[in-house]
């Protein structure tokens, strides 16, 4: 089958092609969402290797069940829902609630500490701006890392991925009121952790 260009094709349509067994459609879905999914998971587990494994597990699960996708929902919501479930399950198993910007708590060796420490990418700014941006970004990441995993997922989905409260409630399988409470508390905690930014 010749490779198809999916440039202006909606997620739903790409899914239809994937359901027909087109490998390029599967690859397109991975290409569209590997970074958002990996970033969400990484910010929740703070470990490169674990984030990669969980992201891989997420995509394998979603793409192997692509026939069960219901087009009335956003594909990305379904994908994030699976990602969130897999990550929360992992965190419950590992009890990794508190983590530091300097590296995951179980990191003992220097290599492991470096692997689990957050590095913030720059966006083509001047060296001074880049430094400031990195510092602010690192502070934000650190503040997010201090939140409870449930808060982390909600605040990232809300402020990084731009999901509505209803969509977040659907993704994290929690009542709307709980999601609003989590986001409210997460904002409060972020404010407390980031006094200097205000």
């Amino acid at each position: 089958m010749p490779a198809k260009s999916y440039t202006d094709v909606s997620d739903q349509q790409v899914v239809v092609f994937a359901q027909e067994g087109r490998e390029d459609a599967y690859r397109e879905l991975i290409k569209r969402y590997e970074r958002p999914v990996y970033s969400l998971i990484y910010r929740m587990v703070r470990d490169n290797e674990t984030a990669e494994d969980l992201s891989q597990e997420t995509f394998i699960k979603v793409l192997n069940n692509i026939d069960r996708y219901r087009p009335e929902f956003k594909f990305s919501s379904w994908l994030f829902k699976i990602a969130n479930n897999i990550t929360i399950d992992h965190l419950r198993r590992r009890q990794l609630d508190t983590i530091s910007i300097e590296g995951a708590p179980d990191a003992v060796t220097g290599e492991r500490i470096r692997a689990t420490a957050i590095t913030v990418a720059s966006g083509g700014e001047s060296p001074l701006e880049e430094l400031e941006s990195k510092e602010i970004g690192a502070s934000i990441e650190e503040a997010i890392a201090k939140l409870r995993p449930e808060y982390r997922a909600c605040i990232i989905l809300r402020h990084v991925e731009d999901y509505s409260y209803d969509e977040i409630a659907e993704i994290v399988k929690l009542p709307l009121g709980t999601v609003k409470t989590y986001i409210h508390r997460a904002r409060q905690e972020l404010r407390e952790h980031l006094e200097d930014l205000k």
Binding site: Y26, R35, G137, V160, R187, L190, L197
Partner: protein, 171 residues
């Protein structure tokens, strides 16, 4: 952009959250995922030999073959082996002399008492003549033993039968 539903003092943080960069998984991520998609790789569902055996043990084996009630057998086996080991160890290392001494002392101390009590009990139940026959060890005594055994089993069977008949009638 999401609607502004947060207090003013959260605005800079919200702006920074929006600016957070995406991170990328390692190179070859897509290939690794694709290699595990069943529809694209029919062989992806077939696990390597070692893994397959594990799956059979975990799932297939359990589902296909009913578990045997191995618990009782295992407990009995363990108990027998345990007792045997303890006994052997006792005989080998500690107790051979001690055990022998205890048993010998017990036997020599109480043998006469046990024999006398048994003879008295036997005389009350079976009568003095019968006991005399038994103690004599004659051919008649063997027949008597057999008669007693048959009578014992026959009596027990009779009682069981009578009980079941009575139960049936009551029902």
């Amino acid at each position: 952009m999401i609607e502004h539903d947060f207090p003013e003092d959260f605005t800079p943080i919200a702006a920074e959250l929006q600016r957070l960069p995406y991170m990328s998984p390692s190179r070859g991520f897509a290939d690794r995922v694709i290699s595990r998609i069943d529809r694209l790789n029919p062989s992806a569902g077939i696990a390597p030999v070692g893994e397959k055996r594990h799956l059979e043990l975990q799932q297939g084996g359990r589902a296909a073959v009913r578990r045997r009630p191995a618990g009782v057998v295992r407990v009995v086996g363990t108990a027998v082996a345990g007792v045997a080991l303890v006994t052997v160890a006792a005989f080998m290392f500690v107790g051979v002399d001690l055990l022998t001494a205890i048993l010998a002392a017990g036997a020599s101390q109480y043998a006469m008492v046990i024999a006398a009590v048994s003879a008295e009990a036997g005389a009350v139940v079976l009568g003095a003549e019968t006991i005399a026959y038994l103690q004599a060890g004659a051919l008649e005594s063997v027949l008597l033993y057999l008669t007693l055994a048959v009578g014992l089993f026959g009596g027990y069977a009779g009682i069981r039968t009578a009980a079941s008949i009575a139960k049936r009638k009551a029902a």
